[in-house]
């Protein structure tokens, strides 16, 4: 577990350094790596939670990671929606500017 967390954090740092990942997301994924590493510490509790909820420790871990993945994908959807809106605004501005450039060029001729 701890090794897995460390691996995630290393990969994220590499990606961020090569500019494949923006700082904003790098922070998020570093937090995920840290959580995975820390999860090693709560392993003894997983069994107890499992007993309380009548679930096997494996099921508890799976459920926890599913929730984590769900939160991450919702966050990504929010980002995509924002990007869509920005793309739209940019495309509209582009069309208006292209038209103005046309007018200016015609006047210059």
């Amino acid at each position: 577990m701890a090794a897995g967390g460390a691996l995630i954090m290393t990969v994220v740092l590499r990606l961020a350094r090569r500019r494949l990942l923006s700082t904003r997301y790098a922070i998020g994924w570093l937090a995920v790596g840290a959580m995975v590493a820390l999860a090693a510490g709560i392993m003894p509790f997983v069994g107890r939670i499992g007993k309380l909820a009548n679930m096997s420790p494996t099921a508890v871990l799976l459920a926890m990671s599913s929730v984590l993945l769900l939160v991450i994908s919702v966050q990504l959807s929010i980002s995509v929606s924002q990007l869509q809106e920005r793309l739209r605004t940019t495309a509209e501005a582009h069309a208006l500017l292209a038209r103005r450039l046309d007018e200016v060029e015609r006047r210059a001729e």
Binding site: L87, A91, E92, H94, L96, R99
Partner: protein, 250 residues
């Protein structure tokens, strides 16, 4: 001074109709702007060949995106009234004057006039499911916006300042957003909306934009809008008796 109104024609893959629609509008003496919504056919070339101004969106944004760009163009060029006309030839250019006349009526102080297929004598042929959906949307607008409109999804509308300036700043681009939601938000914000009966022709070519799947999607969208609230907002309408507030843009 610009020659109000500006007729804005959003066009997506309408190469067979767009030329004739532009000719009809300019023959009626109106200024005209075509917004090509990232068409993949020859719409852009046909529109440019007519000689009217053309905005070319680099990607397909949907009617709302094309319209917001058109509204922005109108405001920047000093127009205070825009009439939106479909590119498929359904709308008859002679009705543009009737929409404008309704806007100009001093007693009513209307900010938007919608051309309706269903009020008055026109018997526009439409599937029963679609008709029922439109009735439902009308009912929602009547309940929530307190405006009686028989054809809230009509794409044949006249819009004037200050609503035009508000739309140029923010306008929804998803399907039904440009019609149903825009009307709903405008009505809630105190803008006055009226309708006039118009006759619409069957589309002159191309394919209808809304098949059964799109209709289902649209209804799901309408329900989402009602559940989650509207996706955009407008500044409230100044009271009618006051002089119109100048739109502040920095």
């Amino acid at each position: 001074m610009p020659n109000d109104p500006l007729v804005v024609i959003p066009a997506f893959n309408e190469q067979d109709c767009i030329g004739e629609v532009v000719r009809e509008v300019t023959a009626a003496g109106h200024d005209c702007l075509v917004v090509d919504d990232g068409s993949t056919d020859h719409t852009l070339a046909v529109a440019r060949a007519t000689g009217v101004p053309v905005l070319a969106l680099p990607i397909n944004l949907g009617v709302g995106g094309a319209l917001r760009a058109g509204f922005r163009y109108a405001v920047d060029h000093g127009y205070s009234i825009v009439v939106q006309v479909d590119a498929d030839g359904q709308h008859v250019a002679s009705h543009v004057d009737e929409l404008i006349a309704a806007l100009a009526d001093d007693g009513a102080h209307l900010d938007m006039v919608v051309g309706s297929r269903f009020s008055g004598g026109s018997d526009y042929d439409i599937s029963r499911v679609r008709r029922w959906c439109i009735r439902l949307l009308s009912w929602v607008i009547a309940r929530s916006g307190h405006v009686e409109l028989t054809d809230p999804t009509s794409g044949f509308r006249a819009i004037r300042s200050p609503l035009l300036d508000a739309f140029a700043a923010d306008f929804p681009h998803h399907y039904l957003g440009d019609t149903f939601e825009a009307i709903l938000v405008s009505a809630r914000r105190g803008y006055r909306i009226g309708e006039v009966p118009v006759v619409m022709r069957p589309r002159q070519g191309g394919r209808p934009s809304a098949d059964v799947m799109a209709l289902g999607q649209a209804m799901a969208r309408a329900c989402t809008i009602l559940l989650t609230g509207t996706t955009f907002d407008l500044p409230s309408r100044a009271p009618v008796d006051d002089p119109p507030a100048s739109a502040d843009r920095s």
